[in-house]
Subunit: 405 residues, 2 copies
């Protein structure tokens, strides 16, 4: 029993933390509650609701199934559900009419075969990527409605009436969902995506800074910075959620800073290049683990220009994040890119100068394993260069975005 | 019109290709068709079906909604749907009884408030990660059933009967789904995950081989190998699908080589280490782009031992894939690890020897930018060492798996 109480308590604590950290999730829950209660009230008020009658169930079902966290997802499901139901209803009535004409004997056969063929075909289209991304839910509803209508058509007879009722209840439920989700504290998928990409840019800049600082610092207290350093892991793992959000964002109407035809695909491109940057940073962290082997002398030589390259790169990332926040292309960007390429060149010339240093040095103290140190010390540079090129790639794409926005 | 025909034709060609490449998807579609037709037949046969009557609709709905590509997903949805309906039905009847006791006036208020509270609370639990992974669908069904039962209970009165009917039709639909998906060409989520991880291991080994071969080859025909070289990208992007598959695999009964409590979590761990390996390979590819700058001499010196390290590493990956295929721990693995660590040591000593070479060499031909070449040339080594350590990490985890299996 004590264990059970402990488990329940931990569960409650966890939920409380989720609620405290993300109050919008709590608001979403309340929104679902409101929408459902309103639908129920609809059902309680007999006179208002006489036209739709017993199929009011469909309105409730629509609210429960369709109501999603973001506006885009809700709209996607609503539109899919409405069009799926509509198409399937029409098709089912048509086939039912044909089956009726061909006599009692063939009717069940025709219906069965048509259900088999259409269900298989519709299920197959769900595997096609383009359809899956946009109409997955719609095809499922299509199958459902088609089967229901053709089966109940065999029994009830007043088919058109039933189809009309079903479509109208679904529209009532769907519009209620859309209204609640847009009017009460809306959560836009596009805005979420926008914020996520910006925060990822900032995280990337921060962890790049931390990594380089960590590598060149002499102190041993690695614990304080590790959390910031590992911020790039979020960037690596956010692919799936970004894709779904971009998908939903396409369904959203114009809101806030975003127009209807906002180039959501570009966000995916930016985050793809961010992921390759994050890969490089991951490789950098493995160098940090070996930093004890690096020689102090060479490190000191390279500290300044290395830090310049990384700081100019992270400056660009931060500026990019700022640009995206304000949705404006700043003139500072070109300057920063200039600064970055200067820093890279400086680093390269410094490395060439150091080649001379390396050759002379071993004669003084032969014990130092020179190649080892040079190799472990050279990594960050070499790693920073691809990072910088990736960053410039990111900037290129970002330029285009700002041109479009 | 011509455009339309072209679009339709391209669409059909694409679907034909999908069908040809993955015949199992076509089989899945036919399975859905069969299950739906059987349910419809159930409904046509009046005498057999008298007990369940007009709510047979629920059976159809269950089949459409619950039938998924893999057995695990189908089972997950079936069990969630059944338990969700059952719990919600009981709770709704209980609350309905309380509301009934408190008189006509308070009844709608109690019902409305209870719907609001329960819907909000259930929606909130869907945000908790542990619940979301396992019971997401169940909580949705819980909300749906609870609302439907409490609303219709206000009207119909014979509540218990309705609840009983609904649960039994759902069980009929669900068991039909489970039977079809298990008996006719079953597609197990666990098996898919197993195959995916194995093929990812092989791809990783292949692209590691190709990268190193590419770096040390003199020829310019990079086009033939690029496809193989970029195979690791699949490894980077497969996180989301692996996680869902591991989730569904937990619901599956014992089948083929897998027991009920198969350690699916370990697969996720393996693929996490594979992803960090893939990151290193990504960094390697950027070195390949700069390979023109590397000096021939140093390259020739290092070719052999570099290739040894990489080939022993990829050998280990392949052996691991083979071990996982046969589900047996081979004795070769220990030997291979020994070979790999020998190769790494050899490479390290060679690098120390080369430090001498580097120092003497510049005196002969000063023009060569020594540090540059050493730096660009050293990368693959330094990159291979983390790759190798990652690989040994993978092996460690894999050992544990084979111990458990």
């Amino acid at each position: 029993l004590k264990n059970l109480i402990l488990i329940v308590r931990r569960f409650l604590e966890k939920s409380w933390n989720i609620g405290k950290n993300e109050p919008r999730k709590v608001i979403h829950c309340l929104k679902v509650g409101i929408a459902l209660s309103v639908v129920s009230l609809f059902y309680y008020m007999r006179p208002l609701y006489n036209g739709v009658g017993g199929t009011a169930m469909w309105a409730v079902m629509t609210v429960v199934v369709v109501f999603e966290y973001t506006v885009g997802a809700t709209l996607y499901k609503c539109l899919n559900r409405a069009t799926g139901t509509f198409c399937a209803g029409f098709l089912a009535i048509g086939i039912h009419w044909i089956a009726n004409q061909s006599g009692k004997r063939f009717e069940p056969i025709i219906m069965g075969v048509s259900i088999f063929i259409l269900a298989s075909a519709a299920t197959f289209t769900r595997f096609i990527p383009a359809v899956k991304a946009r109409f997955d839910y719609g095809t499922m509803i299509f199958i459902l409605t088609f089967t229901l209508v053709s089966i109940s058509g065999y029994r009830i007879e007043n088919l058109l009436n039933m189809a009309h009722e079903r479509v109208s209840t679904i529209i009532i439920g769907a519009s209620l969902c859309v209204i609640t989700s847009i009017l009460i504290f809306p959560i836009w998928a596009g805005e979420e995506l926008h914020k996520l990409v910006i925060s990822n840019l900032e995280k990337l800049a921060e962890s790049l800074d931390c990594c380089v600082a960590e590598f060149f610092s002499d102190s041993e207290d690695t614990t304080t910075n590790t959390k910031k350093m590992l911020a790039f892991k979020c960037v690596l793992n956010s692919k799936a959620s970004e894709e779904t959000m971009a998908n939903f964002a396409r369904w959203e109407p114009a809101h806030g800073l975003f127009n209807f035809q906002h180039p959501w695909g570009k966000y995916l491109k930016i985050s793809a290049s961010m992921r390759s940057c994050a890969c490089c940073i991951e490789a950098l962290t493995s160098c940090i683990n070996q930093k004890d082997q690096a020689s102090e002398l060479l490190k000191n030589q390279l500290t300044n220009s290395c830090q310049q390259v990384s700081s100019s790169t992270s400056e660009i990332l931060k500026e990019l994040a700022l640009n995206m926040k304000t949705m404006r292309k700043s003139s500072r960007m070109d300057m920063l890119i200039q600064v970055k390429s200067n820093a890279i060149q400086e680093l390269e010339t410094l490395m060439e100068q150091l080649s001379g240093l390396l050759i002379i040095q071993p004669k003084n103290d032969q014990e130092k394993p020179v190649t080892r140190t040079s190799s472990t010390n050279v990594i960050p540079l070499v790693e920073i260069i691809p990072t910088a090129t990736f960053a410039s790639l990111v900037i290129e794409i970002a330029m285009r975005i700002e041109g479009v926005v």
